[in-house]
């Protein structure tokens, strides 16, 4: 980074692992994750907070990491899609739901969509269809038409609530 700018220390817990780095203060969290940490699951689709491809979980909240500075993440817990699968290596109910219900096509929006859905289900474990649609309105998808994404989140909610999962996608 530019050598005229004073570097600052940032310490973040990312996917359960404590990491420390010196960064340029203007470094965005998305670049910190992708470039410094090599966690390239979170994507950049707009850099203006509109598309949600960069959505990660920060201290239990959904944030768009393209408009959060890495320094703002100091001393927080950040979770990304790479940390989503269960400890035993099996897929999280949401990851499984997206595959079962054909909730993705190019897969570019998917990590952000999954991370948003995870926080949504934490806040509201049994959302209605309208609540899901509203809950993911900050995440754009150009491929799927959303219908199957909604079904995927319902699938995960059913699974996490111990109910039978609905039939797979058409």
């Amino acid at each position: 980074m530019t050598d005229t700018i004073e570097q600052v220390a940032v310490a973040v817990t990312v996917n359960g692992k404590r990491v420390k780095r010196f960064v340029d203060p203007r470094t965005l969290l998305i670049h910190f994750l992708r470039e410094e940490m090599n966690l390239t699951g979170s994507h950049i689709g707009c850099e203006t907070s509109h598309c949600g491809a960069c959505t990660v979980e920060m201290d239990g909240l959904s944030v768009k990491s393209c408009t959060v500075f890495a320094v703002q993440a100091n001393d927080t817990e950040v979770n990304t899609v790479e940390g989503m699968a269960n400890a035993d290596g099996t897929l999280h109910a949401l990851q499984e739901g997206f595959r079962q219900m054909h909730g993705l096509q190019c897969g570019f929006c998917t990590p952000g969509m999954l991370m948003r859905a995870k926080v949504l289900l934490a806040e509201n474990p049994d959302p209605s269809e309208d609540e899901i649609r509203f809950g993911i309105a900050g995440n754009l998808c150009r491929c799927t038409g959303y219908q199957n994404i909604v079904k995927a989140i319902q699938y995960a909610a059913d699974k996490l609530n111990g109910r039978a999962q609905k039939e797979a996608a058409e």
Partner: protein, 802 residues
């Protein structure tokens, strides 16, 4: 053969027709996709553009000294630096030339002026601010009609005085081409004899594909080996390799083009952009890898656009509603350079499918392409080369005709459909439609949606509205479309002289697993899943034992890539044909192993058995082992095949779409109550993926019809080039989709498949627009231009005194 029943053996294959879950999703859902920006190389540099503030201006000077002095900046390239290499202008896909970096003049806002290369992407942004460009503003033209006025400013001084362009004579200094097709005389006669005629200017506004991942590339030139490696968001990687070789003079075998995972394409990633050329040049100049990542604003305002067609449409008919002639004139706005992605011989793409699904005895089409001060690069955005414009034109036209005749729009369509027994059908504008059964599809759709009851409800609502009891009106949008996809037969189609076949190479390993490499390139269509399904059905090897590889030009056979729904009609055919070559050899091997004649064998799901003695059989797995280890004497060992497939014809999927819309005239808010889409794409490979493609295409159609537009002001400023003001629907606005199908296989495709990815956009836009138009018709309106955002709908209501 084994203990399994035939049904079990078949199920295990997960072949054609199965809703196989996608193999891609295992990596994508875990953040393990590999997109261009995920790739890093040691000592990698970053490049970014200085862009024009103005829509049209002379560049008096460019001073890069302040930028170059910034620590971390390695170089700043301008047209002057590219000139000695002959790369400051590049040929376009449409036979024109385009400035790679502005050469003394900018012709549209945000045009590339200089390429800044630095060690860090933040520094490139700093350096861009330090490049000083001095401009002299020139008069701007953004309206294609004004561009053709006699005193319009000259927009392309490099072409001044040239009276012939790539597609024939030019009739004005801002004119690109005139394309005329059909029988003018016979059409004029039909119009002079007609009981009824209609005429309307139907405009299809400028829009943009905007996949969620922007265009990007990483170029790395190895000076010692003289080899160039380019990773990029390429829908057609082989074509990029050929173009790169022709431009750079690096031999083609020393260029390695790799398209890794792509985050959506929709036509945006077909063309060659300045960013690709500049990163390649920058890598050659610096000897280091250079990455270029476009931002969203750049994507929306500079890399390609779609549509911008202004179609004066006339239909002649008898008084009982039989169409007798079609006449269409198009003014096509191509922006500052003609870099439309159309096959070479079709300056206006497949616009001549404008006769649609109807039996027009005669038709005449003319298209004038013109230059304006807008971004260049008209692409086939989720459509095959202008078929979307054509479908919109005819489907609006048919509604306007129905209104004039006082006929129901569905009845009018039924009356004029090409009948089943007319296929293969020769259209008045030169295409041979392969197969179709339109009446059955339309009737199924009308029954499913309850068409009659909806019309009755609409009538009651209109009366209530007139009595002042409600402020809500209702529209019922009918759309029936015929697509033309599968570009294409080399007799019709080429890009820059490269014939548009496609290819597949299948290799069976001794243990019976398969790798197949393809000339196509998925951007979300799920090829890794569906190509395996075709092979599974053809060769009896389970889909899970088949790996599909695409996008690496070193390993894949030459192919023309994926766009315009060409994958299934062309590459899908290549894969079936390559599999059949393998099957033929397998049959010889099986005959040898079973000690019978080849003709005594029959195919049974996963192997060959002896006719009349099914207990004597060999599975493909057993045959594969034998192919390597005990082939028949004289037969070459191994079991693999390559096929380059040049289709005999295009394919013609079709569909019937209905949209039920409720509109509040006081707020302009339009709610889609129901949207029903019936698609016939021939043989269905993976119904789950087809449904997903239809959902996605309909959502894009909804966006285009109901709000999405790339707008310019009179000064040439592009307004609305971010996701803040360019409408991309969220899960909240997006309607719910009902999908349905009929199956009319293509007679000339090896498995009867026609392709579906473009259809929902092609059929969807007229369904939405017809619904809005249909709602206002009873108040005396004939045609309302798209996009139908709330403001425009409200304004229409006001104008009509609603």
């Amino acid at each position: 053969m084994n203990d399994m029943t035939p049904a079990q053996r078949e199920a295990r294959l997960e072949g054609v027709g199965c809703k196989r879950k996608r193999v891609e999703d295992v990596r994508f859902t875990q953040g393990k996709g590999n997109y261009v920006d995920d790739i890093k190389m040691p000592d990698m540099l970053h490049g970014d553009f200085v862009r024009s503030q103005y829509g049209h201006a002379k560049i008096k000077s460019i001073d890069t000294s302040r930028a170059k002095a910034l620590p971390g900046v390695i170089a700043v390239l301008t047209a002057e630096d590219l000139k000695p290499l002959g790369l400051h202008w590049m040929p376009t896909l449409a036979g024109d030339v385009q400035a790679v970096l502005a050469d003394g003049r900018v012709s549209f806002q945000n045009q590339e002026i200089a390429f800044v290369i630095a060690t860090d992407r933040y520094i490139t942004d700093d350096a861009i601010q330090l490049v000083d460009v001095e401009y002299e503003e020139l008069p701007v033209v953004v309206d294609p009609f004004k561009a053709m006025l006699p005193d319009a400013p000259v927009l392309r001084p490099d072409l001044e005085g040239k009276m012939t362009g790539a597609h024939g004579p030019r009739k004005h200094h801002n004119h690109i081409f005139e394309w005329v097709i059909g029988d003018k005389e016979a059409t004029d006669v039909a119009f002079s004899k007609a009981d009824v005629t209609i005429k309307e200017l139907i405009s299809y506004h400028r829009t943009h594909p905007s996949p969620l991942e922007t265009c990007q590339c990483l170029a790395s030139f190895d000076k010692i080996k003289g080899e160039l490696t380019v990773y990029g968001t390429f829908q057609a990687p082989h074509v990029i390799r050929t173009v790169a070789s022709l431009l750079s003079k690096i031999p083609e075998h020393k260029i390695h083009v790799i398209a890794p995972d792509i985050g959506g394409g929709f036509g945006n990633k077909v063309g060659a952009y300045a960013g690709y050329i500049c990163s390649i040049v920058a890598s050659i100049v610096t000897g280091l890898p250079v990455k270029w990542v476009e931002d969203r604003m750049e994507n929306l305002s500079t890399t390609s656009f779609a549509r911008d067609y202004h179609m004066t449409t006339e239909i002649a008919a008898t008084k009982d509603g039989k169409v007798t002639g079609l006449r269409v004139h198009v003014l096509a706005d191509h922006g500052a350079f003609d870099s439309c992605a159309d096959p070479s011989k079709w300056p206006a793409g497949f616009m001549n499918i404008v006769t649609g699904s109807y039996d027009f005895p005669v038709a005449h089409l003319s298209v004038d392409g013109v230059y304006t001060n807008k971004a260049p690069g008209g692409v086939a955005y989720r459509c095959s080369f202008r078929v979307t414009e054509a479908a919109y034109c005819i489907e609006r036209g048919m509604d306007i005709l129905a209104q004039k005749l006082g006929m129901d729009p569905a009845d009018l369509r039924m009356k004029n459909f090409i009948r089943r027994e007319q296929f293969p059908y020769q259209s008045a504008l030169g295409w041979e439609y392969d197969s179709g059964d339109y009446h059955v599809a339309m009737q199924k759709a009308m029954d499913a949606i309850g068409y009659k009851a909806l019309r009755a409800e609409q009538k009651a609502k209109q009366e209530a509205f007139k009595r002042g009891e409600t402020r809500e009106i209702m529209g019922l949008g009918v759309s029936f479309f015929t697509e033309i996809v599968g570009a294409g037969p080399s007799k019709n189609c080429d890009i820059l002289g490269i014939a548009m076949f496609d290819s597949a190479e299948i290799r069976i390993h001794p243990t019976g697993s398969i790798i197949a490499r393809m000339g196509s390139k998925s951007q979300g269509q799920g090829h890794e899943t569906t190509w395996a399904q075709i092979i599974a059905t053809e060769l009896g090897i389970p889909s899970d034992d088949i790996m599909i590889e695409e996008g690496n030009t070193d390993t894949a056979p030459y192919g023309l890539g994926t766009y315009g729904s060409r994958s299934t009609p062309v590459a899908g055919a290549a894969i079936a044909m390559a599999a059949r070559k393998i099957k033929n050899k397998a049959q010889m091997i099986a005959a040898h192993l079973l000690e019978v004649s080849e003709y005594d064998l029959e195919w049974d799901i996963d192997g060959f058995r002896v006719k009349g003695n099914p207990s004597r059989a060999k599975t493909m797995k057993e045959i594969a082992w034998a192919a390597y280890n005990s082939p028949p004497p004289g037969l070459e060992p191994g079991l693999e095949a390559v096929n380059y497939y040049d289709p005999p014809n295009m394919t013609y999927p079709f569909g019937a779409y209905f949209c039920v819309m409720d509109i509040d005239v006081d707020t302009g808010v339009a709610k889609t109550r129901r949207f029903y889409a019936l698609d016939d794409c021939g043989t269905r490979i993976n119904p789950m993926i087809i449904e997903g493609q239809v959902h996605g295409g309909l959502t894009e159609a909804f966006a285009i019809a109901m709000g999405q537009e790339i707008k310019y002001d009179e000064m040439g400023n592009v307004v609305g080039a971010s996701f803040m003001d360019f409408f991309i629907p969220t899960a909240v606005e997006t309607p719910k989709w009902e999908t349905d199908f009929t199956v009319t296989p293509s007679p000339h495709h090896p498995i009867g498949a026609k392709g579906v990815g473009e259809s929902p956009n092609v059929g969807g836009v007229p369904a939405f627009s017809n619904a809005v138009n249909d709602a206002f018709q009873f108040l005396g309106s004939t045609h309302i231009q798209m996009p139908h955002d709330a403001w425009r709908i409200w304004e229409t209501g006001q104008k009509l005194g609603a």
